[in-house]
Amino acid sequence: MLPYLGRRLFQVIPTLLGVTVVVFLLIRVSGDPTQLLLPETATPEDRDLFRRQHGLDRPIAVQYAHFVGNLFRGDLGRSLVDERSALDAVLERLPATIELTAAAMLVAVLVGIPAGILAAVRRGSLLDRLAMLGALAGQSMATFWIGILLILLFAVWLRWFPVSGRDGPMHLVLPAVTLSLYMMPLLARMTRSSMLEVWHQDFVRTARAKGLRERTIILRHALKAALIPVVTVLGLQFGGALAGAIVTESVFAWPGVGTFVLDAIYKRDYPVVQAAVLVVATVYILTNLLIDLLYVALDPRIREP
């Protein structure tokens, strides 16, 4: 286990470095960073001064080293709008996004996996067909549109839930369901096909031959093996969920990183955009690492070299 963990942690480093390169280059794609970082009214003298102050006149490799150095000190520059530390501002918004994403994943797992199991066990039944039809329809709808439809139905017409904002558990329901519907189709389909795959394997047949109850066979024997690919998909989905959170937050005016980064984009506040991209990418990479470890716990075979 430990060597595997070490190897896996080591693999994360080049990826994280790659992320810093992309974030660093982001401000430089347009050529002159002062165009992005200074207000449009800045004079050429202002721009020269800014360049010298921030080392923008030095070679690009030196600039990158400087950028990474600052990064290790937690310094990602200051917001151009309110002069606050960009990193602090993003981290402040992170809990709301994590709350939304976690709630959505919980709903997706609680509904998607049982739906997939039932569809597999009762293969070809009406339930199976409905579940798979629902999954297909869900995969074909834009997340933000699902959000709009839910608002229309449950907030405007039925008035069960508030339209937007973050103020208590009632506010969490619609955004979390919206985001969960984004993940659920693939989760249900994966669980179903993975379950079908193990359903005809020897160890399941043995369990059945022993006369175990159907329930025990499903939950104790088949599910554990079937869940391995599902867990991987769940990890990959987490990145999608973080991205989906940006849109969902925007639909429901949820005060997380998503609305924050969009706002920063509209205000052309690039240090904040940089910080947000870096934070979200890091969270994503670390989550996938965690999922990999969970994977090892589920499937002992992986531990072997």
Partner: protein, 306 residues
């Protein structure tokens, strides 16, 4: 679905184990299987219709997409104004919603097609190279792909467009940026599987040149995964374009795109809710069509059904 079959987005495609169509006879069998699948045909027909609508938009749209008249704003569906019919009503600027939905198809179909084509061309080239020449070329190329996959894609797209500025061209660039990675990984997988096969080895031993080997022997083996992937990615790109347009980072007004129309309609959720429905239905139909076609193609290529 049969047991042993996995989802195309994670299973067979990634490992490149989807069977290939090599000879005409096999292509013929695939085609026959495809024709027996009503869902796939329905999907193909929906997509075809959307392409026709997009192409013929100027001819079939009742009005120009930017024909504004504030005095007829926010009319319900099937309403007439001074003797003119507005089948889906009008929007906040008095523009004909039906015409805007029809013109909106142009953006979606264009972005989907160009995004898939550019991504496929680059991705196939990279995948072939990375799969055939193992070693540092392969490692470097795949590392770049990995780093890109380390980002939640939408976030990367938003950040890049924020810097480049929103426009149709930048939209296509950003979407193509995503697609090439997916193609490259799948193609590389297929090449790695195919390369050690006997017929490739023997062609190599008899002195065939690399380019000839790649085009004559490897390419036919990757036709199946490429075809399936193209439809799946087409669906994804349309959803992504709609999302970016919804966030104001896509095609700029007054030209209509479905995502932008849904964004505009948000302000009228309480009064004119239908405005929030039509463009969403258009997106769903198109994406559903592509998904059904993709599922059908995958089943048709799958020899396990034989």
């Amino acid at each position: 679905m049969t047991p042993g079959e996995t989802d195309p987005t994670v299973g067979d495609l990634e490992s490149g184990t989807l069977p290939a169509i090599g000879r005409p006879r096999r292509a013929h069998r695939v085609w026959r299987r495809f024709l027996r699948d009503p869902a796939a045909i329905a999907g193909a027909l929906v997509l075809l219709t959307m392409f026709v609508v997009a192409y013929a938009a100027p001819a079939i749209a009742p009005r120009h997409y930017d024909d504004q008249l504030l005095s007829r704003r926010l009319r319900p569906a099937f309403s007439a104004y001074h003797g003119q019919q507005f089948v889906l009503g009008t929007d906040q600027l008095g523009r004909d919603v039906l015409s805007r939905v029809i013109y909106g198809a142009q953006v979606s179909m264009l972005v989907g097609t160009v995004g898939v084509l550019s991504g496929a061309v680059i991705g196939i080239a990279v995948g072939l190279i990375a799969g055939w020449f193992e070693g540092w070329t392969s490692t470097v190329l795949m590392r770049i792909a990995d780093v890109q996959l380390a980002f939640p894609y939408l976030l990367l797209a938003i950040a890049v467009i924020a810097v480049l500025g929103p426009s149709l061209l930048n939209l296509v660039i950003v979407l193509g940026l995503r697609t090439w990675v997916v193609f490259a990984r799948v193609i590389r997988g297929s090449v790695l599987v195919t390369k050690p096969l006997e017929f490739v080895e023997s062609a190599r031993a008899s002195g065939a040149r690399t380019l000839y080997l790649l085009l004559r022997h490897i390419m036919p083996q990757v036709v199946a995964p490429i075809t399936v992937l193209a439809t799946v990615e087409f669906a994804n790109l349309i959803l992504l374009e709609a999302t970016l347009s919804f966030l104001g980072l896509g095609v700029q007004p007054p030209f209509p795109s479905w995502g932008m129309m849904l964004s505009d309609a948000r302000g009228y959720l309480f009064t004119q809710w239908q405005l929030s429905v039509y463009p969403g239905v258009a997106i769903m139909l198109t994406v559903l069509g592509a998904n059904l076609l993709g599922d059908g193609l995958r089943d048709a290529f799958d020899p396990k059904l034989e």
